[in-house]
Amino acid sequence: MSPYVVVAAVVLAGVLLFAAAMGARRVLAPAAPTRAKLATYESGVDPVGRDWAQTQVRYLVYAFLYVIFAVDAVYLFPWALVLRSPHLGAASLVEIAVFIGIVVVGLAHAARRGLLRWH
């Protein structure tokens, strides 16, 4: 039997747990909404403006970097399985070094442009 059947069952169990807890809440918890209670909480002051506001775009840099490096990093896992093979081991070490080295240039570029520094 595949272990992923258990994984699927665990996901199902998690969903059931959430559903059951919400059912219990429905039974146990009171519900007395008032206008003030349903208002957006901005530290006790009346909410200003709309629900959404522009935030700093610099967070996007980290998402960019992560996407690139995550694509990069997943190749390490198959590499882990072939590193000990007699005919591929040493060659794959060089190959992965070149591969990662090239991508690290991107990190250096971002760092040199000051993207990792807060202004």
């Binding site: 996901v11 998690g14 629900d51 980290y62």
Partner: protein, 319 residues
Amino acid sequence: MSPAVEVLVRTVAVLAAFLVLPLLVGQTEHKVMAHMQGRLGPMYAGGFHGWAQLVADGVKFAQKEDVTPAAADRPVFRLAPAVGLVPYLVALAAVPLSPGLVGADAPASAVLVLAATAVGILGTLMAGWASANKYSLLGAMRAAAQLLSYELPLVLAVASVCLAAGSLSLTAIAGAWSPWWLLWQLPGAFVFLVAAVAELQRPPFDMPVADSELVFGAYTEYTGLRFAFFLLAEYAGIVLMSLLFAVLYLGGWKGPLSGDLGWLWTLLKGFVVSVLVIWMRVAWPRLREDQLQRLAWLGLVPLALLQLALTGVWVVATA
């Protein structure tokens, strides 16, 4: 045992561990943190030293009104706690306590754990955006940026261990472990520990929920049981990361008398790591947002890459 019964038993066991271990860690945190601050912590619920405090908290949370703000995006807001919680449950299922004692012994369980924790980010992002609260949105942004930034060192550190063991299975990794790894994989272990604490958004990496700036970040608008689920996810995360650290870097079930009681060793090592995580929270101040990101990209990532190079060269040289 028929397959269906086996699946059921395993699932129930994982669910039980998921509901019990976080409570243990939470109670330990109550007590350790209190005594580190010269206090006693909860003393009443349950009688002896307030052992049932978290159970009482759970009962209390279930009876609290669950408010969905009027401006919120209702379906996303209400679903977010589940998205934050279930990934940790899945990840916990893949962590072995001993060679025979594991929920789902997947051949690539190390990657499975990483993939599951990566999905957890979505729960925070959904919560922050759907709350229709600017603080929440900013908190979610910070949280997601932090989780992404620290996910990478985490992946690299785990990859280094996989490399050292020549396998992607956590069971096999702990099986290949020897005390020599304590030195050899030390930089990786350091990177893993720091990145794991950051993944959990625990102090000193709790900028996304910085109370003085963002109220409670992405979770500001949550009340009652949904809020409790986010808390449960945090403590389940501590359990998961501590057990992972124990399995990856401390040899899991290896130790004296580990024949039948190996699982106890894993739990014990994991417990020690979680106490360390709690200790960090008490002792250290919060890092600023830019320090967080610099630490990840200019500190941990290069260190993890060095560890990878070290591991790769050593494996090839000794193969």
